[in-house]
């Protein structure tokens, strides 16, 4: 049964509302005036030039990148170890492992922030890439965990048994069979973990220092104190980079298949 015209029209209107804020940010970033206005009075790339030359923005982008990459790498390792462990060993009950892996989804960012802040202050980890990446990695773990778990659920256990009978010990099986098969899911989870770190504001704001601020923290400061079009330019860059990474991750399995076809 096709939806009726009225319902479809309503849905398309909502789709426009969904997309509109993103468009507004992108369009205002190309404005020429000092004041953010939509639609802009004139067009220019000057605000991008400013973002690329202002050390505040450049450093913030650098910090966010470093934190995001480190957090994503850690989340990929921890998340896939938890997912593989939950389905392949019985050392810890699977429900316990699942609970631990998914707990970051349940705990609000504000709550985690206060906790991390209280620990970080005592361990001197505030204001550092490492400190924030350690926390962001934990927040990114569920993304990797869910994706790898879903792949493992559809993976025939006989394939790993075949490796064992072919003479591979447990670790060799993991390295030569299980990991290569789940690798695309690990990467997709890693990209989602990167984006979650890249966008994360709450913990980052508690962990910031005058010399260490990530992009969302800087944007927040601008929004609170009155933004200029460079805020739009930075926001556009944040969004474009997120979506670019996602598109790459989504295209990855197809790319792999094409590579192996004759």
């Amino acid at each position: 049964m096709r939806p009726r015209f009225g319902v479809t029209a309503l849905a398309i209107l909502m789709a426009v509302i969904f997309l509109f804020p993103t468009i507004v940010v992108v369009v205002t970033s190309f404005g020429s005036g000092r004041i953010v206005s939509f639609p802009p009075q004139g067009w220019s790339l000057r605000w991008y030039a400013e973002v690329f030359t202002d050390t505040m923005w450049v450093q913030a982008f650098g910090n966010s990148f470093a934190v995001g990459i480190l957090a994503a790498a850690l989340a990929m390792a921890v998340g896939s170890a938890l997912a593989i462990g939950a389905t392949r060993t019985k050392i810890f009950p699977a429900s316990l492992v699942t609970g631990i892996a998914m707990s970051p989804v349940v705990v609000p960012g504000v709550v985690l922030s206060v906790g991390v802040y209280m620990v970080a202050v005592r361990t001197d980890l505030t204001g550092s890439v490492i400190g924030l990446a350690l926390a962001h990695a934990a927040v990114g773990v569920p993304f990797v965990f869910i994706n790898v778990l879903a792949r493992l659920a559809t993976l025939d256990k006989q394939i790993e048994e075949a490796a064992r009978i072919c003479g591979a010990d447990e670790m060799t099986t993991l390295r030569t069979v299980t990991l290569p098969i789940v690798a695309p899911s690990v990467v997709i989870g890693g990209v989602l973990a990167f984006i979650s770190s890249w966008d994360e504001f709450m913990v980052a704001s508690f962990m910031n220092s005058p010399t260490f601020r990530t992009i969302p923290v800087v944007v927040w400061g601008e929004v609170i104190s009155g933004a200029d079009p460079s805020t739009s330019a930075a926001s556009t860059l944040i969004t474009v980079i997120s979506i670019l990474f996602l598109a790459l991750a989504a295209g990855l399995p197809r790319l792999r298949n094409r590579k192996v076809a004759p």
Binding site: T22, A81, L82, P108, A138, V141, E170, F206, L246
Partner: protein, 318 residues
């Protein structure tokens, strides 16, 4: 793990060693003595177990420990909770947060049903438009979108300018700093979650059911209310619980778009820690927020299953 009983050397045909074969008396049946002599490493330290142990340890130290220490710190002195609740801002913020989160959840459900339905049943081109808009929005960060709403809802923003120009209103109406702005901004962030859960559930409804209902004389509206809505209800409720819980922990949107009177719990906590520098009282308030979230999840999980709420049942569908 097993240690090798039979040292199969790296020769290629992997046959058993002949001396070993002859040393075994074929008459003795179950031969427990023929075991490895070396004590095997414990399971949690060998192979996959070691990786899993390390991963569990990581989550314990980097995630659970901070939350746990914060809780212990808050609970160790009951005065923290007395101080927390003596703050009128905090007491009001609890009611504000729950009330506004519930409203946002209802808004999300209402918006998501038609959207998910069209997404599940419409022509390909329309589905692509709807999916693209939804996903681009979904992957634009909350902060960026909130910033955008700020631009749009201003007295001099596009919406007011347009309304004045079109003669709908005589002068700009104030939208920033109102509950309406918060509902709009939060629903915009959270509705994609309900759309996706409802969509997943609708996709699982066989089209034949709708056709059967139509053949038996139901009008399209009746089919929607009598077939689609009941069958997608579990997904919708699970999505609603998830959205409600996420709404409880919001900070950015109410802080930027909302009023100074209707303050969220998140704002109250941040204020305690960052402005009043009373971290322990903030921790106590954070424990209260965490409790509200956990109780909600426990109740929701009891009826709907926690796996369904967190999207584990259909893992990877995102």
């Amino acid at each position: 793990m097993f240690a090798p009983l039979r040292p199969v050397a790296a020769h290629t045909d992997r046959r058993p060693n002949e001396d070993e074969v002859t040393t075994l008396d074929s008459a003795t049946v179950p031969d427990q003595a023929v075991r490895s002599k070396a004590a095997p490493r414990p399971a949690w330290l060998s192979g996959i177990g070691a990786f899993q142990s390390a991963a569990v340890l990581y989550m314990a130290v980097a995630f659970l420990l901070p939350v746990l220490l914060m809780t212990i710190r808050a609970v160790s002195d009951p005065q923290n909770f007395v101080d927390a609740f003596s703050s009128g801002i905090f007491r009001r913020s609890i009611w504000t947060t729950v009330r506004m989160s519930l409203t946002v959840t209802v808004v999300c459900l209402v918006v998501s049903y038609p959207y998910a339905y069209v997404l599940a049943r419409a022509r390909r081109t329309i589905v692509i438009i709807l999916a693209t808009c939804l996903l681009v929005s979904f992957w634009t960060s909350t902060l960026v979108r909130t910033y955008s709403w700020q631009l749009l809802l201003n007295n001099t923003g596009l919406i007011n300018t347009a309304m004045v120009a079109l003669g709908i209103v005589d002068e700009p109406i104030r939208m920033m700093g109102t509950d309406f702005a918060v509902y709009l901004g939060m629903a915009h962030v959270l509705a994609p979650y309900t759309v996706l859960t409802i969509y997943a559930q609708m996709r699982a409804i066989p089209r034949e059911l709708e056709e059967a209902a139509q053949i038996m004389g139901s009008r399209p509206a009746t089919v929607f209310w009598r077939v689609i809505v009941p069958l997608s209800r579990p997904g919708a409720l699970a999505g609603a619980v998830l959205v409600f819980v996420m709404a409880l922990g919001f900070y950015i949107t109410p802080q930027i778009l909302g009023s100074a009177q209707n303050v969220y719990i998140g704002t109250a906590i941040v204020q305690q820690v960052q402005a009043f520098l009373s971290t322990d009282v903030g921790a106590a308030q954070a424990v209260v927020l965490l409790l509200i979230v956990l109780i909600t999840l426990a109740v929701g999980g009891k009826y709907l299953g926690i796996g369904r709420i967190l999207g584990l049942d259909k893992a990877g569908q995102r």
